[in-house]
Symmetry: C2
Subunit: 201 residues, 2 copies
DNA sequence: CTCGGATGTTAGTCACCATTAACCGGCTCG
DNA sequence: CGAGCCGGTTAATGGTGACTAACATCCGAG
């Protein structure tokens, strides 16, 4: 009863992975359905056996990324790494550390996804775009909530702007690829982010 | 003898400005020549009286941005804001400040150009791409040179990675548009950048 | 004047590409 | 066995869009 599903799922996932890679490299409009097909060894319209169209492909990719980030954010903030119940500040600091680690690991492990996530939202049809934006907003709010505990005198607009700036910093990974190995890049980004946020005090 | 040239230059500049705006909003492949024409009040193939094609348009936009950044970088570093000749460190610190100010002002004044500069390099034909990359590399090296005076024990690869990260931070302006007025955004970004670079010590 | 270049215009032309149609083999389940 | 879906294939089809052709206008120089 579930025998034929496994290959289907694999193929679907394969297509999504290949499409994300191609979109990252050449942009949504720079990639044809034929390109995506041949990247997974089938050719052209076979894609339509798995997805309703090119836009649906992009929508699913972006929804997946946004959902993964948001979910990871919610999980890390809710269940922080420090089991004891410390002072509010130490708690918030641990939560920020967790958010940073989660985001950095994701960005270093999936530079192509980060690229697509940053660049292609405009090409998603309206309804999916709304859902993606909602997830992104929730993710930003996770950060803002944590930061507002650390820097209670800082107005929210400033916290939001700083959060976007830190995302820009962390998401620089696709551009500085190869400069430094990930083992060196991760702590560098972490340190830079923490230091830059300290000016909010 | 020079009478007819002025309108031509204006039209050319008008087209470049409109094209950059459109490329920023919808991406290179998402904009048609017809779109660009009607944005400046002429329609369609009139563009070819001024440019050899769509790619030439993008090439010129990116070359101009890269050249402006690099030129500004070279100028600010060579002729720093502090006239007295201070200790090497203070000198380098002033140069870094100047680079930061220059980049931030540019990014806040031209978010669309920043966006195009970040996203569309892949769509430029090979020969122009090489020249653009060279300019970008030179600009990065300006920063690395200044930083290597401030943090002499830091390996160049690390300085380069940090520079890219700071660019990501500063170039977040198109994404956090509207969160904060530019008068508040500029010092925030400046402070965050300086603080983040301090971890290189 | 009037010639010629600079700028535009409108109507092709040609490629490319998303999507659909029509058709096919294999595998599972009855 | 055989019916039917699953996942593929190759040929349309239709639209879009870059670029070219052919033709008009304006305007300054000689």
């Amino acid at each position: 009863m579930t025998a034929p599903r496994t290959p289907t799922r694999n193929r679907r996932a394969e297509i999504l992975r290949a499409a994300a890679e191609l979109f990252a490299a050449r942009g949504f409009h720079g990639v044809s359905i034929e390109d995506i097909g041949s990247a997974v060894g089938v050719s052209g319209p076979a894609i339509y056996r798995h997805f309703s169209g090119k836009e649906a492909l992009l929508s699913e990719i972006l929804l997946d990324i946004s959902e993964r980030l948001r979910e990871q954010g919610a999980r890390l903030v809710t269940a922080p790494a420090v089991p004891e119940s410390p002072s509010g500040d130490a708690y918030a600091r641990a939560a920020l550390d967790a958010l940073l680690h989660g985001h950095i690991d994701f960005a270093l492990a999936n530079p192509a996804l980060i690229r697509v996530h940053e660049r292609e939202l405009d090409n998603v049809p309206e309804s999916a775009r709304r859902r993606i934006r909602r997830l992104q907003r929730l993710y930003v709010e996770e950060w803002v909530t944590v930061l507002s505990e650390l820097y209670p005198d800082c107005p929210p607009a400033r916290l939001r702007a700083a959060t976007h700036a830190v995302f820009g910093l962390l998401n620089s990974t696709p551009r500085s690829a190869g400069e430094l190995p990930p083992q060196a890049m991760a702590p560098l980004l972490h340190g830079m982010a923490v230091a830059s946020l300290a000016v909010l005090a």
